[in-house]
């Protein structure tokens, strides 16, 4: 399939469907295989190379778009995992409403005692006939307050070393025993939550992948997460640097020589990072993201932090103000919106969420550069005997 084929499919589709009805339009777009062209036919795709997606986006610009601020976890993490490990029924059931945004997803991975060391997690899932009974606590769960479904990793065998005893599930967020409590963030609002799981019953048909294979399935999610955060194509001068450049251009009275030097450095770094992302996408146009994606997420985090900090400083007196501290649940995740102070504070999360920058450096060092891991004390110890 060529770019021309895809473009003409998109044009035919547009001619035959009314973009006026947002939901119907998106559903039809999914059914036409124009949701994510690299997915198989019947699951929103055409089995075409990944890079042809941009052809579709070009043709369908100006039609109803997805709300990536709330759908991010579904699109970026749950979908590729379901595609890789789901049964045919699971793919048919979940992917369409996930893509159209009729069903929002969240990620129940982190726990109070298991963050960077995700594999120590202790939320238990115990088999009971055709069902699993889940008990435990998750934390930092972004968007759980919107979610219909969650991707969940739980411990199913405490007697084997930690990496081996986990299983991956789809969790029904409307099931009895799921309780979502907002957690207020440094920005004032609550984008993330704590989620308490008490006797939650999940059918075995909600298991994703084999029993005990949860770590491998979770790796697929995490690799995709690192590409999802910071891997999106931007135009030259776009993203956070675009936001700051806008202030710079429109407010000549704020300019100083020191800020100018720093802005230029960051502009150049943003540009080379953008180019590296484009180059990586060219390499990945077939196949799954590898550990190289971690590099992009690292740069994205440090650039966003430096640029948003510069923006506050540049604004001077105005930088002392803040748009809104009220404690409310966020509508969506937006790194580039609201005021400069909000962007500065929100960017602090970029080097923590989706794997901290320290962990990402470990991943690059070990999996890309092949450097030895630090000596480990937890590799062959059954999970239940680990110190915590």
């Amino acid at each position: 399939m060529t770019g021309e084929d895809v473009a003409s499919l998109a044009r035919e589709f547009l001619a035959a469907h009314d973009p006026g009805d947002r939901l119907e339009f998106l559903r039809a777009r999914f059914d036409a295989g124009l949701a994510w062209v690299h997915f198989p036919k019947g699951l929103g795709g055409l089995g075409a190379p990944r890079e042809l997606q941009q052809v579709v986006e070009r043709e369908l610009a100006g039609t109803p778009q997805l709300d990536t601020g709330v759908q991010g976890i579904g699109l970026g993490m749950a979908a590729p995992t379901i595609l890789a490990f789901g049964t045919e029924e699971q793919k048919k059931r979940f992917l369409r409403p996930l893509w159209t945004g009729e069903e929002i997803w969240c990620q129940l991975f982190s726990e109070p005692g298991a963050g960077s060391d995700l594999a120590t997690l202790g939320t238990r899932a115990v088999r009971d006939g055709d069902e699993w009974v889940v008990d435990g606590q998750k934390v930092w769960t972004s968007g759980a307050h919107h979610a219909r479904w969650a991707i969940l990793v739980a411990r199913t065998d405490p007697d084997v070393p930690k990496h081996r005893g986990m299983t991956y599930f789809v969790c029904d967020m409307h099931a009895p025993g799921v309780e979502v409590r907002p957690l207020r963030q440094i920005t004032g609002e609550a984008e993330f939550n704590e989620v308490f799981l008490t006797g939650v019953r999940l059918g075995d048909d909600l298991r994703l992948g084999e029993i005990g294979d949860g770590w491998r399935v979770a790796q697929m999610t995490l690799m995709n997460e690192r590409v999802a955060i910071g891997g999106a194509p931007v135009r030259r001068g776009g993203g956070m640097v675009g936001v700051v450049a806008e202030t710079w251009r429109s407010r000549p009275e704020l300019r100083t020589h020191d800020l100018h030097q720093r802005l230029l450095r960051l502009w150049v770094e943003s540009e080379v990072t953008r180019l590296a992302g484009a180059r990586l996408r060219e390499q990945l146009s077939v196949g799954q993201p590898g550990p190289e994606g971690s590099g992009m997420k690292l740069s994205f985090a440090s650039l966003n932090q430096a640029l948003s900090g510069l923006d506050v400083e540049l604004r001077g007196e105005e930088g002392l103000e803040y748009d809104d501290w009220s404690f409310r649940r966020s509508d969506s995740v937006d790194f580039f919106g609201r005021g400069a102070g909000y962007r500065y504070l929100r960017a602090k999360g970029n080097s923590i969420e989706g794997g901290t920058s320290e962990i990402l450096r470990n991943i690059v060092a070990e999996r890309v550069l092949g450097l030895p891991s630090e000596p480990r004390v937890d590799k062959d110890v059954p999970w239940k005997d680990l110190p915590r």
Binding site: G237, A245, W248, R249, P252, R255, T256, H257, H260, Q261, L263, L264, R265, W267, V268, E269, E271, V272, T273, L275, A276, A278, R279, E282, Q283, E292, G295, L298, S299, E358, L360, R361, N362, V364, A365, E366, V368, L369, G370, L371, P372, S373, E374, P375
Partner: protein, 370 residues
């Protein structure tokens, strides 16, 4: 456009790399830089004759390979990896580009064949973005007098291309006094070129900004090659070297630095490829100082971005490489010093990083304070 390498480019790389592996190992290079003929002109002739690198940028009708900046960039990566002492950048890139801009037809054919070597008589540290210092003048009889310091590749050139005012002059090398000075970069030493009443022939208009920015955009690929060698060599060393009963590469303090260096090099590769690709556009690839088409401005911006990023990355990786090698990195016997010297000298070459960033300010509309 692609930021990856094409098959043809990979083949070109393989043949250059093979030849360099054979003829340009560290011991040979070190011995040569200690001698009074630091450039390896035998190797240069072989690169020209067997692989045709001298005429890469020259159109086929003038006996060249009719290739582009993309292929020249690949050759530069390999020459950088080997810190090969050959005048490719000075003759086949800078002098050739100056002649192509002038529309010269005879000399360019000689250069393409690899039998004649030329040098552009500007300081290697000249910035594309500022007028050159006027140190050579034309007398009433039309002869050239004066001197230019810090010129690379002049001592092995047969023909000198000398900018005077906005004109480009041709002077035979034997009519100049060329004195190599002890140089920071042992594998690309610089010389003082002096004229006293030298006969010169006007070739045409010297497109300073275009030629030097083209050179800077391609130098980024050589810097990438330097950075890659340093990263790979350091990586191999820290996997081997044991202290405290562990490979030193298993200590997180070192791993994290390596991860950051790797990321810098990944981005250097993207920046260098992007510059080469945009500089390869068929014609008018660089805006004549100031205004021009969007494509020209894009290429100039890409060259400035690559120039500033790759200069700093090559230097940083070379410096880290010395540090992570410990004592051995401080020795004359270990190759890394040649790379550090090349990296530091090329940081200044054809516009220091800050000069390129000033150009970015202009090209990306990020004006300086009033």
């Amino acid at each position: 456009m692609t930021l990856l390498y094409t098959e043809v480019e990979e083949e070109l790389r393989a043949s250059v790399r093979d030849l360099l592996a054979d003829r340009c190992g560290f011991d040979a290079v070190l011995k040569r830089v200690e001698s009074d003929t630091p450039y390896d002109m035998e190797l240069w002739k072989t690169l020209g004759r067997e692989i045709g690198v001298a005429g890469l940028l020259v159109p086929e009708e003038y006996g060249g390979a009719g290739a582009s900046a993309r292929e020249a960039a690949v050759v530069l990566e390999e020459l950088g990896r080997a810190v090969a002492p050959v005048p490719f950048l000075t003759s086949a890139v800078l002098a050739t580009k100056a002649l192509l801009e002038v529309g010269e037809e005879d000399l360019i054919q000689e250069l393409a064949s690899g039998e004649t070597t030329a040098a552009l008589v500007v300081p290697l540290a000249a910035s594309p973005y500022r007028p050159l210092r006027e140190t050579v003048t034309v007398g009433e009889d039309g002869t050239l007098s004066g001197e230019v310091r810090g010129v690379a590749g002049a001592d092995v050139a047969d023909v000198l291309l000398v900018p005077v005012g906005s004109a480009l002059y041709r002077v035979e090398a034997e009519h100049a006094r060329i004195e190599v000075v002890p140089s920071l970069d042992l594998t690309r030493p610089v010389a003082t070129v002096a004229f006293s009443g030298a006969r010169g022939e006007v070739l045409g208009h010297f497109e300073r900004r275009k030629v030097l920015a083209f050179g800077a955009g391609l130098l980024a690929s050589e810097q990438l090659g330097v950075a890659e060698w340093c990263l790979e060599t350091t990586l191999a060393y820290i996997k081997e070297r044991h202290q405290f009963a562990r490979p030193i590469g298993s200590f997180q303090a070192i791993k994290h630095r390596m991860a950051d260096l790797w990321l810098d090099v990944v981005r250097a590769r993207a920046a260098a490829r992007n510059a080469a690709d945009l500089l390869a556009a068929p014609s008018d690839h660089l805006a004549p100082s100031g205004a021009s088409g969007a494509a020209g401005a894009d290429a100039e911006l890409a060259a400035a971005v690559a120039g500033s990023w790759c200069s700093e990355v090559a230097l940083h990786v070379a410096e880290e490489s010395v540090q992570l090698h410990g004592g051995i990195g401080m020795t004359w016997e270990h190759p890394v010093h040649l790379y550090l010297k090349r990296a530091k000298a090329s940081e200044i070459a054809l516009g220091a990083p800050g000069a390129h960033r000033e150009a970015v300010a202009e090209l990306a509309d990020l004006p300086a304070p009033a």
